[in-house]
């Protein structure tokens, strides 16, 4: 698979770090600190539902990070390990 250019990767990473920082800001939901209602789905107090949303948002943000901004050095290292293992006649899945 072709590696995205390093500059584009860094830009994506910077953008995604900003998204993660935004999640940290949104985590401070002072606006309904004292509120229990409305109840989301009829039973989730609004403050808990919001924080659950933060967790789901974090999952998506990290998914984007590993898909679009995974460090090139780590991929290179995996590739060189795999090449070295093949050179020794060993498959990287651990099977002989």
């Amino acid at each position: 698979m072709t590696q995205p250019p390093a500059k584009a990767r860094r830009q994506r990473a910077a953008f995604l770090y900003m998204v993660i920082f935004a999640l940290c800001v949104l985590h401070q939901d002072f606006w309904w600190w004292e509120e229990a209602e409305p109840l989301v789905f009829g039973f989730l107090p609004i403050g808990l539902a919001w924080q659950l949303g933060i967790s789901l948002g974090a999952t998506l943000a990290w998914l984007a990070m590993v898909c679009f901004a995974w460090p090139a050095q780590l991929d290179d290292f995996d590739a060189s390990e795999a090449r070295a293992a093949q050179g020794l006649g060993v498959h990287t899945d651990g099977q002989p």
Binding site: A6, R9, R10, I20, L23, C24, H27, Q28, D29, F30, W32, W33, E34, E35, A36, E37, L39, F41, G42, F43, L44, P45, G47, L48, Q51, L52, I54, S55, L56, A58, T59, W62, L63, M65, V66, W70, P71, A72, Q73, L74, D75, D76, F77, D78, E81, T92, G94
Partner: protein
Amino acid sequence: MTFGIILAYVALLLGIALFSTRRSKSSSGDYFLANRGIGSFMLLMSIFGTTMTAFALVGSTGRAFEKGIGVYGLMASWSGIIHSLCFFLIGAKVWRLGKKYGYVTQLAFFRDRYRSEGLVLLLFPLMVGFVLIYILMGVVGSGRVIEALTPETFAVSDARTSVVVEAPVTPRIPEALRDRVSFDEATRTLTWSGSLHPKRRGELMAMVKPPTPAWQKAVATVVAKAPRGAVPYAWGMGFISLVVLIYVFFGGMRATAWANTMQTIVFMVMGVIAFVVIKDAMGGAEAATKALLASKSAERASRAGDQVGKLQFLTYCFIPLSVGMFPHLFQHWLTARRASNFKLTVVAHPLFIAITWVPCILLGIWAAAVLPPTTDPNAVLGMMVSRYSGDVLAGLIGAGILAAIMSSMDSQFLCLGSLFTNDIVAQHGHRFGMGQLDDKSKVRMGRGFVVLMVLVAFVVGLTNPGGVFPIGVWCFTGFASLFPVVFAALYWRRSNKQGAIAATLTVGVLWLWFLDEALTGEFLIAGMMPVTFVIAASTIVLVVVTLLTPAPPQDVQDKFFDALGVRES
């Protein structure tokens, strides 16, 4: 029945863990790191299982019972963001260094990066002390959970015990309870024989319709005075410690990873089952929340009042940085087969936290509407399970709770064995007349230290020390405050041993300085988590001392930065 299911679960766990050792080789690389061959799924499950403990299930439910929904924002949603950040920034990079330079422990990395045995000898007691406290959370939690979940297990042996109370009202005793309850009209006394499950409170109450205040008082006295017949705290604690010891002793990291994978699945599934069963027994989720809103504890559904402070809510973000310095997690990182194995862990961790925590938080706030406010927070989950589910489910859910506890304890015990063997005995044994350790000696030595640590944890656990949660938070504070040391080691070329030692000393001194206050209950400084100040102090000290002292040798900079490519090209 409940205890029988727990025993069956433990037998299955031991079977799987010991089965996994059939694939192991008798080398120290296999014993401590499973030959660095763990794939994506097992890495996710073992890391998640290791970070979730009694703290996540028992502690979160109890804390939500006391402090409401804010507990999720404090611990869980912050952790979802910050843990993955640590895995991404620290874990994957440490794995690459470990694979390239052959590190087995966290301290081996620091020794090489900072070229300082002094730093290692300073970090060692801190790491061992913090991990032991962390282990104690699990040990104490396991004893309490088993005790709470197994009333009337020893009903037969309690049969000769009787509780006699005054009862001014004549009760109608049902046939099924005739062998346990008797009423003497002459003296107007009620006698209960044998152990008593708290669930039977309702059966006793129903003997007088409608129950008068005098009858309610008599029932409350019987419930309070009758023996529970539960598995005693010390037995439960010792039993769980022994189980973990067996599979860590024989299987090392490979058995630990397999056991953690199974246990993580079990505690997540059982947590969801507990939630569904209790929710249904309470008349559904909507009814349970509405009952809470109509009760005196309605504020548990919000963060109103003094439940959670806004600055506390903000500064709790530093606590999850502790995973960057957990030595047992560090060891798990080193077990990965490839760097790409970290991807699944980074992505799924926040989702798994939500799946585990949201049900516990809801159970905790719903419990506030039905349990007396004086209930021990650490007993809330056990009491809800006991109150709203049958014996079979209570046993399954109890197994889930114990799975969460054991999946952390095993890694911690193994990690302590690794630290003692690889960083103390192998490095300093010659000073005490010990020769070079061969591979088999390292495994033997590691096992010996695991046994020793289990014994230490058991003996300290016998004193049933304090609340589980404050101990855990303070232990996390220590780890989190050391985060700047590992971050600088990986990302700041100029970072040197003088700065690292000064920062570590700062953390050690401040941690001990505040220890008394930390263990007395909720401890805040100006409304903020104390970790804010300790981590700020350690960061400032690290930066200032580093800049005032010489840069690390060029070969260190080459080895850790240039040779690995700091910048992408």
